[in-house]
């Protein structure tokens, strides 16, 4: 792994990955307490694209995502306390407890929302880009998608419109080979590349190793630069792998939809381990740095869980609030 990145950026990427991993591991460890009562999709193993995107995008750039959004939210700078509180159903959650794990939002850092319908935020992201273009903002929009989104009609419709209008968008596709327990070959033609399809539809498409955070960063940063320069919508495919079960905290290699060998080969290529080695070899970090980072992150996470725990549940009346504007609420 040749590495020409600034030490600051390198450390940021590694730290962000470690932090995302630690948050997810803590959720997994505490999920059994039955206090986080909502479907929860962890990103362990897939930290690199999220960290890379967070660093490659400006804070004012926008992002949307889907059901597996913890990492994207954290990478973009989303508030950790508000996320844990949200998953815990507390009123201090980023959606006041109405959305849970699958509905994260932090507009203050441009994370405009993640939702639970596969492909559902893809056109929303395109519409955000349209608004930016018409209102002459300079932001670009990153739309996080999984490989299954490449099967949804709405992706193709959205990509087509984005191409016609040359909108500043990055479709950032984490290809982790599975949709729930279904491998790619029962869903898409064998040998068809996701980036290839995207290119044919009219997106500028590149692909790379999603467990190599440097490579991921370079691809996303280049795509962001092109999008910002008015070259139209971009597509970046990053190959990566989910370690744990599709939804929930456990490992599930035992149930038979993928092989232990496949899992192990990806785990070998742990994005955090890989990049840690690179940075250690390059003397960019040392064990002390790692220990400090881990300590700080652990404290931050403990504080976030404590915050969530201490936060009140929403008042029952919140179940009925905010459905409409106050003008319309007054008519009900």
């Amino acid at each position: 792994m040749v590495h020409s990145m600034s030490p600051e950026l390198s450390r940021r990427l590694l730290r962000d990955m470690i932090r995302i991993r630690a948050v997810e591991e803590t959720i997994a460890a505490r999920y059994g307490e039955q206090k986080m009562r909502c479907p929860t999709h962890l990103s362990i193993g897939q930290e690199a694209p999220a960290a890379a995107a967070g660093a490659a995008l400006a804070r004012t750039d926008l992002a949307v995502s889907g059901h597996r959004a913890h990492a994207h939210y954290l990478g973009k700078g989303g508030d950790l306390n508000a996320m844990i509180a949200e998953i815990s159903g507390k009123v201090t959650g980023c959606a006041r407890g109405r959305g849970g794990s699958m509905h994260l939002i932090d507009e203050s850092v441009g994370f405009m929302g993640s939702t639970a319908i596969v492909g559902g935020t893809v056109p929303v992201g395109v519409g955000l880009a349209l608004s930016g273009s018409l209102l002459e903002r300079n932001d670009i929009v990153c739309i996080f998608i999984g490989d299954a989104v490449m099967e949804t009609g709405v992706f193709f419709e959205s990509a087509n419109f984005a191409a016609v209008h040359k909108l500043p968008i990055i479709f950032l596709c984490e290809n982790n080979l599975y949709s729930v327990y279904s491998p790619l070959d029962v869903r898409q033609p064998q040998g068809r590349s996701l980036a290839g399809v995207a290119a044919a539809v009219g997106l500028h498409a590149t692909a790379g190793d999603g467990n190599d955070v440097c490579a991921s960063y370079d691809l996303i940063a280049a795509a962001a630069a092109r999008a910002r320069a008015g070259e139209g919508p971009q597509f970046v495919e990053l190959a990566t792998y989910r370690w744990r079960e599709h939804c929930g905290p456990m490992y599930d290699n035992n149930i038979g939809y993928r092989s232990e060998a496949e899992f192990e080969s990806w785990k070998e290529r742990d994005p955090i381990k890989l990049f840690t080695h690179v940075l250690q070899a390059g003397d960019i970090i040392d064990q002390a740095w790692l220990d400090a980072a881990t300590r700080e992150i652990t404290q931050e996470i403990d504080a976030a869980f404590a915050f969530a725990e201490a936060s009140p549940f929403p008042d029952p009346s919140e179940a009925y609030a905010d459905l409409y504007s106050k003008e319309v609420m007054a008519c009900l």
């Binding site: 929302g113 955000l128 905010d322 504007s325 003008e327």
Partner: protein, 351 residues
């Protein structure tokens, strides 16, 4: 006050909105084309620019999600579908995103998005160009559903929809596009959730919307001359619904007839009957009634649409029966000068 057709009033509302607020955009299949969606968007792109008034691919679901995103990003989009039937492709974005965004993200951002859908009827529109599925939208918490009857209301409700903060399904009946009426100029607004008392009278409360309010007005006027007088409530908005006006009227008349341009089973008329039956039970003096389209798609052949729709004579018959009075109503049918499958001689097809 200037006289405009309903289509002109829609166009006028769009033009006022575009002129007034640079965040308003108007798009849809054919929006800037030479026909301009039955004249409702005609040449708006010439006045307000092709970036704000634009065509789209045949991609109804994505174009709805794009409107949602645009609204979240600070715009006030207006999307047009030439038929409601096509918008069925976009129910995912409407129901899962537009209706819920404000609620499910804790109320921090609303989706000011107006989706116009035109309701077809007659002249061979057939099963997939004539569906009046307002009941589908009216069942969804988070959506507003508007069905204006007059040009004045069409303009006023459209401007309120565009400048409001909520997603609005704005349903225009194709047969109303040529209806003329006095329509205020400029930024004319009518609040959502307020019905209009089109006629007042003591015997029966008639509740209707859109094209059915026109049929009802014919019937009510015809019976008024025979001494049967009705409250005729033109709903204008279906969600939120003006329950206070309906309840107040039923309290006076004790008799309710609800009309609906959609299918009977599971339709809006049933909801109104249910609401009144549960909430105004003590006031009702006779079984409430509804007249809606049959529970079958509208067929294409004119021979099959002849008795399909509820017309003024059926409304008059039902009112008279509710009032327990004899009345003449057959002449209402005889008085119609046009074939049953067109709204007037201005309509020559093809759609």
């Amino acid at each position: 006050m200037p006289v405009m057709t309903y289509a002109e009033a829609i166009r006028d509302a769009l033009s006022v909105a575009l002129a007034q607020d640079p965040s308003v955009i108007v798009y849809g299949l054919g929006a800037p084309d030479p026909k301009g969606v039955f004249g409702t968007t005609l040449d708006l792109h010439k006045e307000h620019g092709s970036r704000r008034v634009f065509d789209m691919p045949t991609s109804e679901n994505a174009m709805t999600g794009i409107g949602i995103g645009a609204a979240l990003g600070g715009l006030r989009p207006v999307l047009t579908h030439q038929r409601l039937d096509f918008a069925l492709l976009s129910l995912d974005q409407i129901i899962n995103n537009a209706a819920k965004w404000r609620f499910m993200f804790g109320g921090q951002r609303s989706v000011p998005f107006t989706i116009r859908m035109i309701l077809g009827r007659g002249w061979g529109q057939g099963p997939t160009h004539s569906q009046n599925l307002q009941a589908l939208f009216a069942h969804i918490p988070g959506l507003c559903v508007v069905m204006p009857t007059t040009p004045d209301d069409a303009k006023g409700l459209l401007l309120t929809s565009i400048f409001g903060e909520d997603p609005v399904i704005f349903l225009e009946h194709r047969w109303l596009h040529n209806l003329s009426g006095e329509t205020p100029q400029g930024d004319h607004r009518i609040p959502l959730g307020k019905a209009r008392m089109m006629r007042s009278g003591g015997h029966v409360t008639v509740v209707a919307m859109s094209i059915m309010s026109i049929e009802a007005a014919h019937a009510v006027d015809h019976l008024a001359a025979q001494g049967i007088s009705c409250d005729l409530i033109d709903l204008r908005s279906i969600r939120p619904m003006d329950w206070p006006m309906i309840e107040e009227s039923v309290r006076r008349t004790g008799r309710l007839l609800v009309l609906d341009s959609g299918h009977e089973t599971g339709g809006v008329a049933g909801e109104i009957v249910a609401h009144v039956a549960t909430k105004c039970w003590g006031d009702l003096r006779a079984a409430p009634r509804r007249l809606a389209m049959p529970d079958v798609p509208e067929a294409t052949s004119p021979a099959l649409t002849k008795d399909y729709h509820v017309r003024a004579e059926h409304v008059a018959e039902a009112i008279a029966a509710l009032a327990g009075r004899e009345a003449e109503f057959a002449s209402l049918a005889d008085a119609r000068k046009y074939p049953h499958d067109v709204p007037g001689d201005w309509f020559k097809g093809p759609f």
